[in-house]
């Protein structure tokens, strides 16, 4: 495996079927990797937004009650409204964990693509991360 950056139109990325041997194929691959990097940055912001949304959608009183209950580890004795809130919270947190898995996998895929030491791919990752950060992070400070 070459251990230095090279400019080349040939690469095999991640999977056996993803083999590139033409400029057009390389351009398309760079675009896909770029979008993957954009998605990675977007998911990072998306996780925080998802958390804010779930915290806001719970009525304030029950969310405070939720905090108290998880702190005291009280079991049983929950009235039905709190049970429903607990279930919604559980589902939201489960969804967040799935998003986290996707984030981990995409992060590793981008790392492995950079490991191909193809300079075009690397530039695609850098550009995609920049674009993703530029587009996604302002959304973080919005309500």
């Amino acid at each position: 495996m070459a251990m230095h950056f090279i400019f080349s139109d040939e690469a095999v990325l991640l999977f056996d079927f993803w083999s590139v041997h033409s400029p057009a194929g390389m351009a398309l691959s760079v675009l896909v990797i770029l979008l993957m990097a954009v998605l990675y940055e977007g998911i990072k912001v998306g996780k925080v937004k998802l958390l804010h949304k779930t915290l806001e959608s719970l009525p304030t009183a029950t969310s405070q009650q939720l905090i108290l209950e998880t702190d005291q580890d009280s079991a049983g004795s929950s009235s039905p409204p709190v049970n429903r809130t607990h279930l919604r919270w559980f589902l939201c947190h489960f969804g967040q964990s799935l998003v986290h898995v996707i984030q981990v996998v995409i992060g590793y895929f981008v790392m492995l693509a950079v490991m191909s030491y193809n300079t075009w791919i690397f530039l695609g990752v850098v550009l995609g991360s920049a674009l993703g950060y530029y587009l996604a992070y302002p959304l973080l400070s919005m309500a």
Partner: protein
């Protein structure tokens, strides 16, 4: 000559696809890649594969050869990824609890009508030689080493081990973020 090499390569890839279930890909490539000094080139797999024979894991003494060993490695990698997520959450919690000094810096800035406004910055921090900071540093080193280990494990391109990393990270996040998510700091950015 370039065209010939490319044709050889795709021909061998075709053979590999036909007996997918029996031959580990990187072995197949080293034995049939026959031009020049090309023997070293395909030792490390560069695409995902599912196999449990002759899988080197991080250290030269850790070689997986049987399904049983692969199952053990899967569990170990799964637990390592879970531990990594837990360590991240634990460090965040420790940092929040140990932030002792809060400094308020006020500085004059020009306002819209030529008036002077006071802009106040709030800084939270730790003392450098305090025990919490030393503990954070030690945990940081452990976190860096484990994150590199997980990266190297994913770099084996072995499908089972990669799934173990992803599943362990998800499970660890699910279990350890459960309580932490309730007391999250809104101004915190993703790392």
């Amino acid at each position: 000559e370039n065209i010939h090499q490319e044709m050889d390569h795709s021909h061998h890839m075709g053979i590999y696809h036909m007996d997918n279930s029996t031959m580990p890909p990187h072995h197949h490539m080293t034995t049939s890649h026959s031009h020049g000094g090309g023997d070293m080139m395909m030792m490390m797999p560069m695409t995902f594969y599912f196999d449990f024979k002759n899988v080197e894991l991080l250290f030269s003494s850790l070689v997986i050869n049987t399904p049983g060993e692969m199952a053990g490695a899967f569990v170990a990698v799964f637990l390592l990824a879970m531990f990594y997520e837990g360590l991240k959450i634990a460090r965040e919690g420790l940092l929040r609890k140990s932030q002792v000094s809060i400094r308020y810096n006020s500085m004059p800035v020009p306002g819209p009508n030529g008036t002077i406004l006071m802009e106040t910055h709030k800084t939270v921090g730790q003392q450098m030689l305090s025990f919490p900071h030393l503990l954070q540093t030690v945990l940081h080193i452990i976190q860096v080493v484990i994150s590199y280990f997980l990266m190297l494990i994913f770099m084996t391109y072995n499908g089972y081990l990669c799934i173990a990393v992803a599943a362990g990270a998800g499970t660890g996040y699910f279990l350890f973020s459960w309580k932490k998510a309730v007391v999250v700091d809104i101004t915190e950015h993703c790392h």
